[in-house]
């Protein structure tokens, strides 16, 4: 399993967020993509939609599973990764890079999130 980057925050539901300059980039973790298997479709919100922390904002599907996306932060969507529409497999191959999902203008503080070490410990309990 690839190492979870140290500069990100992680949620229990296996999303990550990179916070910089009042904005957050959100994606799913390596653990999430591995558990789902080959990802076939990612359903994302639209630019301008409002996300609420710990609430559903989309979903990700593989052949035999589907999982809701739970937002780690609150804010307004300023960009979505449109390339995933035709190449959802990028979430498998590069979950922390090209496989990002949405960019959000944050409206609150990020809460109840873990650093990489705590997240890895959390994953260990689910394996």
């Amino acid at each position: 399993m690839s190492v979870n980057p140290a500069d990100l925050l992680y949620s229990k539901t296996h999303e990550w967020v990179r916070i910089e300059d009042g904005e957050g980039v959100v994606g799913i973790t390596a653990f999430a993509q591995e558990s789902l298997g080959d990802i076939t479709y990612v359903e994302l919100p639209s630019v301008g939609d409002t996300l609420e922390a710990e609430k559903e904002f989309g979903s990700v599907e593989s052949v035999k599973a589907a999982s809701d996306l739970i937002s780690p932060v609150s804010g307004e969507v300023v960009a979505v990764n449109e390339s995933l529409e035709n190449a959802p497999e990028v979430c498998n191959s590069d979950p922390y890079g090209q496989g990002w999902l949405v960019r959000v203008r944050l409206t609150g503080k990020a809460e109840n999130l873990m650093d990489a070490a705590a997240y890895e410990a959390h994953c260990a309990t689910e394996r």
Binding site: S62, K64, A66
Partner: protein, 443 residues
């Protein structure tokens, strides 16, 4: 006992392997106070006795008279090859094709069905069927509710009333508002429909030909819907669809149909099948099964159930629908019917039936007090205004062996004097003459 193979010796052998003394011991886990008393059901009967009983009941139904009854469900000629092929046990005793490698027959047939349906209505894709036209209409409405994220449906009153009743039942607990737009003498009120569609609507739902047989072009209404980011849903009659302007040409987003007229006997209301087709961008909101083409590990073409993550066995409470069993064998029959008739067979059937309906109109409107209910173009079904209540006339004509149609007063208040008459290829000019003579004697 019929259909149970074990001899008494085999049963004893099997019980010994299990390690119990009697079959009854295997039911010991049923809580004692919940054990059934002996069933008070009739004793089993021989195959011939059961057949005789049902033959006798079948004989009590009157199916031999002349009938012009349609109202969304039509008697059509069905090629005998449909029965022969769909009656192959390779098709009818198989289960849902979850194991693709041993189900390519069913899977490819569904793929071909999807292709045929999508070509008939000229939309990108179709699913593997839902239960009937009414449930197809409801499922299409729910697609729109999810896609538009709105909860108001604009529904033309000239859409099949049996399905509108179902829609009301299915949405009763869902916080969905249904705005019904009234029709005028059987003609859809397109101005009122245009006015009713706004940016709060999830969808506008119309039917072509509408329940009264009127043929129309709903393009402007779908254009208005698109402008409001609502979906355009249209229900069609597959036989006439072979000649009429298509949902694709009109700019509809979802087309639905009762598929009964494609190879299904009337069979007192079922089983039938609901056809659903949509534009590619909405396919992930489709209910039910969908077959896709793929390749196997050696690169050979094959077919699989696909996009299953939408379905109940994976998505559970968040599935696009609860449907599991669908109407696969009925879909096969519909496909066979279309393949055997071909484009020309379907179109000539439609044209024959339209021509015969025009002949019936000519004969009947020559009778005193009978007139067309409206002056709109019609297909193979038509609403006629009578000088007396249609229900009364239907009763009287039935006593003489002719069923003239459906009395519209049963579902539309104020239309008690209107008769809905349908002609198909099972009727002919002689039958129409007989109908005219019968009604002439009663009016």
């Amino acid at each position: 006992m019929p259909y149970i193979p074990h001899t008494p010796d085999e049963v004893q052998e099997m019980l010994a392997v299990i390690g119990v003394r009697s079959v009854e011991d295997l039911f010991a886990d049923i809580p004692a106070n919940m054990r059934s008393r002996q069933l008070d059901l009739p004793k089993g009967r021989s195959e011939s006795a059961v057949c005789a009983h049902l033959e006798q009941l079948a004989a009590q139904n009157r199916v031999d008279g002349i009938s012009f009854l349609g109202a969304g469900y039509y008697a059509h000629d069905i090629p005998k090859a449909v029965d022969a092929l769909a009656g192959r046990s390779e098709f009818y005793t198989a289960y849902t094709p979850y194991q693709a490698e041993c189900s390519q027959g069913t899977l490819q047939a569904i793929f071909e069905f999807q292709t045929a349906v999508s070509r008939l209505v000229e939309l990108d894709c179709a699913n593997a069927s839902v239960y009937d036209g009414g449930t197809a209409l409801f499922e299409a409405a729910m697609m729109a509710v999810r896609i538009a994220k709105r909860r108001t449906l604009v529904v033309d009153e000239a859409v099949n009333p049996f399905w509108r009743a179902m829609l009301a039942t299915y949405t009763a607990n869902l916080d969905i508002e249904i705005r019904t737009v009234g029709q005028r003498d059987g003609v859809s009120d397109k101005d009122a429909l245009m006015a009713a569609v706004d940016e709060h609507c999830a969808a506008v739902i119309v039917q072509n030909p509408n329940f009264f047989g009127v043929v129309d072009d709903y393009s402007p209404i779908f254009e208005r819907a698109r402008g409001c980011k609502a979906l355009g849903i249209i229900s069609v009659y597959p036989v006439l669809q072979s000649v009429l302007k298509t949902p694709g040409e009109m700019g509809a987003d979802v087309a639905v149909a009762e598929g009964q007229s494609l190879g299904q006997p009337l069979s007192f209301g079922g089983p039938y099948l609901g056809l659903m087709a949509c534009r590619k961008e909405h396919v992930r909101q489709f209910p039910g099964r969908i077959v896709g083409r793929s390749t196997d590990v050696e690169g050979k073409t094959g077919y699989v159930l696909t996009l299953q993550a939408r379905e109940q066995h994976i998505r559970r409470a968040k599935a696009t629908s609860n449907i599991c069993s669908n109407q696969a064998l009925c879909a096969l029959r519909a496909l066979l019917h279309m393949a055997l008739l071909g484009p020309e067979g379907l179109m000539r059937t439609a044209e024959n039936n339209m021509a015969l309906t025009r002949y019936a109109v000519k004969r009947l409107t020559a009778l005193p007090g009978v007139s067309l209910c409206n002056s709109a173009p019609y297909g193979s079904e038509v609403a006629l205004r009578l000088p007396l209540p249609a229900a009364t006339l239907v009763q009287a004509a039935m006593a003489q062996g002719v069923l003239p149609g459906y009395p519209l007063g049963k579902t539309y208040a104020g239309m008690e004097h209107v008769l809905l008459l349908s002609c198909t290829e099972v009727n002919d000019h002689g039958q129409v003459d007989r109908l005219a003579e019968t009604l002439g004697g009663l009016l």
